[in-house]
């Protein structure tokens, strides 16, 4: 374990470097979408050390998303596996999570998984105002797609169908 990642105050009390913690958190995957990690999804909001204690702040995606509990447990496991014993995982509701926080890399990974990535904020506001949004089929790339249902296999996805290759696919809802 590279010592540069730890600043030793006293033999027992070791404080991990912030970057080291972020690198650990980037290994924690979303249980529903294993291709994505919780950092690129924008779930991890902040990592700070307050009076010699590590505090990781996360924010839930959907209020009722059961994966959030699993994510909290996985973060705990990942930190402990890297010999970080004293830390706290804080949950905050504000500012509310938005799909705009997802990195472009995360969006590409989604397409690779056969899930159409969420468009940047404005597109979806059109839908809520009744205008259809333009969702590309992750398999054949056609724009000729239509929504089957606003609610899909998980809270964060709705169900679409491609009119060109006739395949159903999930669209990651904008929120």
């Amino acid at each position: 374990m590279p010592t540069a990642n730890f600043k030793t105050l006293t033999p027992l009390l070791t404080i991990p470097s912030i970057d080291f913690v972020w690198s650990i958190l980037a290994t924690v995957r979303d249980p529903e979408i294993p291709a994505l990690n919780v950092v690129e999804m924008g779930i991890v909001r902040n990592v700070k050390i307050a009076d010699e204690k590590l505090v990781v702040t996360i924010t839930p995606t959907y209020s009722g998303c059961p994966a959030m509990r699993a994510i909290e447990d996985d973060i705990t496991t990942a930190l402990k596996e890297n010999l970080i014993a004293s830390f706290e995982i804080e949950t905050t509701l504000s500012p509310p999570w938005t799909t705009d926080w997802m990195t472009d890399e995360a969006r590409e990974k989604l397409t690779g998984e056969g899930i159409a990535p969420p468009q940047k904020g404005s597109a979806d506001k059109n839908l809520l105002m009744g205008k259809l949004r333009d969702v590309k089929c992750p398999r054949c790339g056609s724009h000729d797609t239509h929504m089957i249902s606003q609610f899909g296999s998980t809270a964060c996805k709705s169900l679409y169908k491609c009119n060109f290759c006739l395949e159903p696919f999930d669209y990651f809802k904008c929120i």
Partner: protein, 252 residues
């Protein structure tokens, strides 16, 4: 607010709406008319249960008696619940469920819009998050009201009957009592009476577009927010609280 008990009771009103409503529409899980709707209502119920959890966690913290959100949800009797009567009513047919979702979520969306401006930091954060989900609920229900109203003779008749029956449960949305006044004057709560105009406009637009009639205003059921409930709540609680009642303190 005057006392933390007042704030606790005020939070319970919205928390119980979410908790009981989420529990009630989750009953459609496995019984939906089509798979997509089965999933839609289950997802909607999940959102409401998540919102209830967030609010009950905060309420438990405010109360400061060491209770958790699970204790508050599972170890209270019917008379201690503060939800609106409309959310505890049985699901009925799919027209009834959609009509209720449409009338209730249209109100709850407006409520959250105003709650975003609450002086209570947590409640404002909660509202800003929950409102995102509510937009999908309202839009989903509105689409179905249109489909049913402007659909076949039978769907038109069923949704109209449902809206007529449920209309007398909507006045309770807008009642302002001393607890509300205390919450409003301290800048934490929402003046629900002021939402009536906008709510009536929003729902009437969709109802008339769906070739349906907007029922006349009149007498309304009330009492849920004071713990006086219909017989239906007891059945929900016997389902929801069964495990904690049979094995008190059971843990996963």
């Amino acid at each position: 607010m005057k006392t933390s008990d007042h704030l606790f009771d005020y939070i319970l009103r919205t928390a119980d709406n979410c908790l009981i409503y989420g529990q009630r529409i989750a009953e459609w899980c496995g019984h939906g008319p089509v798979l997509e709707e089965d999933i839609a209502l289950s997802n909607t119920a999940l959102d409401y249960l998540g919102q209830a959890t967030n609010l009950l966690k905060y309420a438990a913290q405010i109360e400061g008696k060491g209770r958790t959100e699970d204790d508050i949800a599972f170890l209270r009797d019917a008379s201690e619940f503060k939800n609106l009567l409309i959310v505890e009513l049985p699901n009925g047919d799919y027209g009834y469920t959609i009509a209720r979702q449409f009338l209730f979520s249209s109100f709850y969306l407006l409520y959250l819009e105003k709650l975003c401006g609450s002086k209570d930091e947590f409640l404002a954060g909660f509202a800003a998050k929950s409102i995102k989900e509510l937009k999908y609920h309202v839009q989903h229900a509105g689409d179905w009201v249109l489909r049913m109203g402007d659909g076949t003779e039978e769907s038109h008749q069923r949704i109209q009957k449902a809206i007529n029956e449920l209309w007398e449960y909507t006045p309770e949305f807008f009642i302002v009592d001393e607890l509300d006044t205390d919450a409003i004057s301290s800048g934490i709560g929402v003046d629900v009476a002021a939402l009536k105009e906008q709510w009536k406009q929003n729902v009437s637009d969709i109802i008339t577009e769906a070739t349906l009639q907007v029922p006349a205003d009149g007498w309304g059921h009330k009492g849920g927010r004071l713990g006086k409930h219909t017989e239906h709540l007891g059945f929900i609680l016997s389902d929801m609280q069964y495990l904690q009642r049979m094995y008190p303190g059971a843990k996963w």
